[in-house]
């Protein structure tokens, strides 16, 4: 091979390798045209050229460029896709966080039948995700904390004012009086300390006397306690008997209540009462009639007969 051919081949192959390597690294399909779409966002935190474009969690493309659009004050993100992945019209591109810090663009496909051609535009939405929520919570708690601090400081100011104003002298006076009272108590204690110690001594001697008294009569005391124990035992037996009696009584009462037996019937059955009642009524009428008209009864009765 001639030297010139060698050199030419070397350079030619190197250029081809460089171009293919570049397309490989930028994820442009090696031998075919790529398919490019744009999306407009207000902000694109973390999205740079080379960021992944995902659909349902699968990488389908790469971010090519992020450019400022001066006229609309927004950012245009150009994405390239494999041509086998043509997107339908109305698809939406979300910027979302993956694994907390990694940002990527996620495409949500629409159901539209018409496919977007290269250079088309899809809607872009910046999705703050979990970090946005965290930020919101942080802001709210920050505000709350601020309010709390303000209130606390106003309370402290009021306390301060109170202390500086008239209340301070009141408090001072109260403290002074308390001091005086304590001093008086102290004085009182100091003065009557002799009496107190004397009383304590008396109490002690009384206790000693009781001690000596009881120590002599130990046996008698024990006897008394034994008697008491016996009595209580008897009480227990008695109460057992009483229990039996009361059980019998309650049995009797139950029978009476139920109208069982003669006494029960006497109490519960009203017929005797009714008979007695009607008898007394009849007697009453009889006596009344006898009083009013004794002849009627004595008509056939002659004195002679009687006598």
């Amino acid at each position: 091979m001639k030297n010139e051919v060698k050199v030419a081949l070397t350079i030619f192959i190197a250029i081809i390798v460089a171009v293919l390597g570049y397309r490989f690294m930028t994820e442009t399909p090696l031998f075919s045209q790529s398919y490019e779409l744009h999306a407009h966002f207000n902000r694109v935190d973390g999205i740079v050229s080379g960021s992944s474009v995902l659909m349902q969690g699968v990488k389908i493309g790469t971010v090519r460029r992020v450019e400022f659009l001066d006229e609309s004050d927004s950012l245009r993100v150009s994405m390239s896709f494999n041509t086998t992945r043509q997107l339908p019209e109305g698809s939406v591109a979300y910027i979302r966080s993956f694994q907390i810090v990694d940002k990527a663009i996620e495409i949500e496909r629409s159901d539209s039948g018409t496919l977007l051609s290269t250079g088309g535009r899809i809607q872009g939405i910046y999705d703050e995700g979990i970090m946005g929520t965290v930020r919101e919570i942080g802001e709210t708690s920050g505000r709350n904390l601020e309010n709390t601090t303000e209130r606390l400081s106003s309370v402290l100011t009021q306390v301060d004012e109170m202390l500086l104003g008239g209340s301070r002298s009141d408090i001072e006076q109260s403290l002074g009086s308390l001091n005086q009272s304590l001093r008086a108590v102290e004085q009182l204690l100091a003065e009557s300390s002799d009496d107190i110690s004397e009383t304590v001594a008396h109490l002690r001697s009384t206790a000693a006397t009781i001690d000596t008294l009881t120590s002599g009569e130990q046996e008698q005391l024990q006897q008394i306690i034994a008697n008491l124990e016996e009595a209580s035992g008897r009480f227990a037996a008695l109460s057992g008997e009483m229990d039996g009696v009361s059980r019998d009584l309650s049995d009797v009462m139950r029978k009476i209540n139920e109208g069982d037996g003669s006494l029960g019937r006497l109490i519960n059955d009203p017929s005797l009462y009714n008979n007695l009642d009607s008898l007394s009524y009849n007697l009453n009428t009889l006596i009344k009639n006898l009083n009013e008209n004794p002849r009627h009864f004595l008509k056939h009765v002659r004195l002679i007969d009687i006598f």
Binding site: T10, A14, Y22, T26
Partner: protein, 272 residues
């Protein structure tokens, strides 16, 4: 710092540079050398239009500098990438760092820095030493003087094709080193099971910027120029027989390495 009577010879092309004064070390050697280096470059630029006189040399230099260097560069790149992947995955063991970070680190370091610098350092030895030895031997065996006496412009005949070949072939070498480096890194990740292919590519692609390639290629062009021009300078002004040639070869390699690292730093400060 040169003697006055030599200043005329800079402008005359072909230029016959005096041999007698080079043997004794100058008081301000650094500036003296830098001045001569600039003269040589100036002459090279002046004579770069004489394309016909160096065309054949240019092609053969491209073969020697680029084509013949490809195996060693590919090998160096692939091994650098593989080692980088294995060592990065050994260091990044935290559960909070995704595996794709390894891919990003390996690819970025290769494209921005290592592909250019490693191939530069390897070729400083391979290409730089060859150029310095060739020109040095020609100088001490008075072949350059013979060329001059026959009316050839020795600078356009010897220096220009070598420097131009460096310009053209170093980006090619960079492409080879970067590509095989990334491929080697990817392969090492898969073979050792440290980084799955998908993770590696995800990281590599996420942090990939086209500017990085331009940056790396700029570096490689600068390194190519540094290696070839310094080696030509050292060989062209060699003196003192076989020992002098050896000395100039060593100097060429060492200086090339130092200036590659220096230029690397400067470019990083300026361009990043």
């Amino acid at each position: 710092m040169r003697p006055k009577n030599n200043s005329l010879q800079i402008t005359s092309i072909p230029c016959i540079l005096p041999l007698t004064e080079r043997t004794q070390p100058h008081k301000m050697q650094v500036f003296y050398d830098f001045g001569r280096y600039c003269q040589l470059l100036y002459q090279a630029i002046r004579s770069s239009s004489e394309f016909k006189s160096y065309y054949r040399n240019f092609v053969s230099e491209m073969i020697k500098t680029g084509y013949d260097s490809l195996p060693i560069v590919i090998l160096a790149g692939a091994f650098t990438g593989a080692v980088l992947t294995i060592q990065t995955s050994y260091q990044l063991v935290s559960a909070f760092i995704p595996k794709s970070t390894i891919g990003a680190i390996v690819t970025q370091s290769l494209i921005i820095e290592l592909a250019a610098v490693i191939s530069g350092l390897v070729l400083a030895g391979r290409v730089g030493a060859r150029i310095a030895t060739e020109l040095g031997t020609m100088r001490v065996s008075e072949q350059i003087d013979a060329l001059e006496s026959m009316g050839f412009n020795s600078v356009s005949f010897l220096v220009v094709p070598r420097v131009l070949a460096g310009y053209v072939m170093f980006p090619i070498i960079y492409i080879a080193a970067a590509t095989t480096g990334v491929a080697g890194g990817l392969l090492a990740g898969i073979v050792t099971g440290q980084v799955p292919m998908a993770d590696f590519l995800l990281g590599a692609r996420t942090y990939f910027l086209p500017w990085d390639i331009i940056f790396g290629m700029t570096k490689s062009i600068v390194f190519g120029f540094i290696i070839t021009s310094i080696s030509c300078f050292k060989g062209y002004y060699a003196s003192g027989g076989a020992e002098g040639v050896g000395k100039s070869t060593t100097n060429a390699t060492v200086l090339s390495c130092i200036f590659i690292l220096l230029a690397d730093l400067l470019l990083a400060i300026i361009l990043l």
